[in-house]
Symmetry: C2
Subunit: 216 residues, 2 copies
Amino acid sequence: MPKLLHIDSSISGEQSTSRRLTARAARRWSAVHPGGTVTYRDLGLHPVPHFDAVTGLARMIRPEDRSRAQQLSFALSVELVEEIKRADTVLLGLPLYNFGPPSTVKAWVDHLIAPGISIDAETNAGLLGDTEFIVLAARGGGYGPGTPREGWDHAEPWLTHALSPTGLEPRFITAELTVAGSNPAMADLVPLAAISLGQAETAIDELWATDQAAAS
Amino acid sequence: MPKLLHIDSSISGEQSTSRRLTARAARRWSAVHPGGTVTYRDLGLHPVPHFDAVTGLARMIRPEDRSRAQQLSFALSVELVEEIKRADTVLLGLPLYNFGPPSTVKAWVDHLIAPGISIDAETNAGLLGDTEFIVLAARGGGYGPGTPREGWDHAEPWLTHALSPTGLEPRFITAELTVAGSNPAMADLVPLAAISLGQAETAIDELWATDQAAAS
C-alpha cells in the first residue's frame, strides 16, 4: 500500500496558505492512490525540540554512555528518519518567516541529518533517496527575479542543501505574495498573488499524473 | 557605563570555535571598556522556545485577549529586545549547522522581529540601530568564492536580511574549515583552517581600536 507523510509547520492555523496547499496535495495524492495510508505531523502545533547542547552530543558518544536526555533525543532522530523511510511521498508545508524557515523546520532537519540513520556511516551515501519529497512553500512577499528582494528567500535554497546528504531532493511548489490581501501597501499586488496561488494549485493538481496514467 | 551583551549558541561546549571567538571578543571589549558591564545569554544550553502556533498569535491580538501562554511568549519577546536595547554592543556566536543557523538562533530572531517593540509600528523604522552587532561565526567547511560549496552558508546572508527591519546590522568575523583537524578527508586543509582562525582572532583583537585611541 502506498504511504504518504504529510507535515505542516505554519503557525497561522486556518489562515495558512502552506496548510491549504498541503491539504490540497494530500487530497490529490489520496485520489490518485486509493487505499493509500496517510501519516500526519504538525511541527507548528507540536514542535520537535531544538537540537541543543544537552542532546547534541548524543550522536558522538557510545549508546551505552548516553544520558536519559541524550537517549530520548537520539530516539526522536530515529523516529523522524524512520517516518520518512516508511513513506513513498513526503509533503512539507514550508512558510517563510523572517526570510528563513520556521525554527521548527530547522530543528526537524537537524534531527534528520544523522550518520548511521539517514546517511551511511561508512560510504556517506544518503539513505532517504527512495522517498519523493514535495515542498508546498508560501511566502508573504515577492522574491522573483528582478524584484527588490530577489534572493531574500533563504528557506528554499537552504533546504535543498541541508537535506542533500540524505538523498532527499525537494521539489518546490510555491505561492508568493500571500499577505498582499491583508497589507494595504501591497494592494496593487493582489492580482499577482491570485495568479501565484492559482499556479501553485494547478501544479498540485497535476502531481502524480504519470502514476494515474500508468494505473488507468 | 558601557554595556555588552554576549550570546553563545553552539552546542559543542568547550570544543566550540564560535564560543572561543566570542570569549576572545568579550575579553577584548572588557579591556577597551574598563568598568563596562557584561550580560550573558546561552542559547545552546538554554534555548528560547520555538515561535510556535500557540504563541505566534500573541502578536496579532489585543493584550487583554491573550492566553497565559501568549502572555509569556510576548513577555519573552519584550525581554529579548530590551536586552539588546540596553546594550551598546552585542556579540553573537553563530555556528553553521547543516548549512543554516542553529534553530535556537532562528527562534531568537523570530522573537526579535516584533512591530511595536523592535520596529516602530507606525513608521516601520527599526528601533535597534543604536546597538553595535558583531557576529563571531564558525563553519566546519570552506565556503569561499570558487569553492565547491560557495553559497552554501545560508546563515550569514539570512541573518543580515532577517534583522534588517530592526536596524541591527551584523558585522561578521568568520573562522572556517573548523573541522579540518578532526576530519581525515580534510587533512590537507589544516593549514588553511589555521590561517582562517588566525585572521578571525586578529580581526577581534583590532575591534574597538578607534574607541581605544579616542580614550587615550
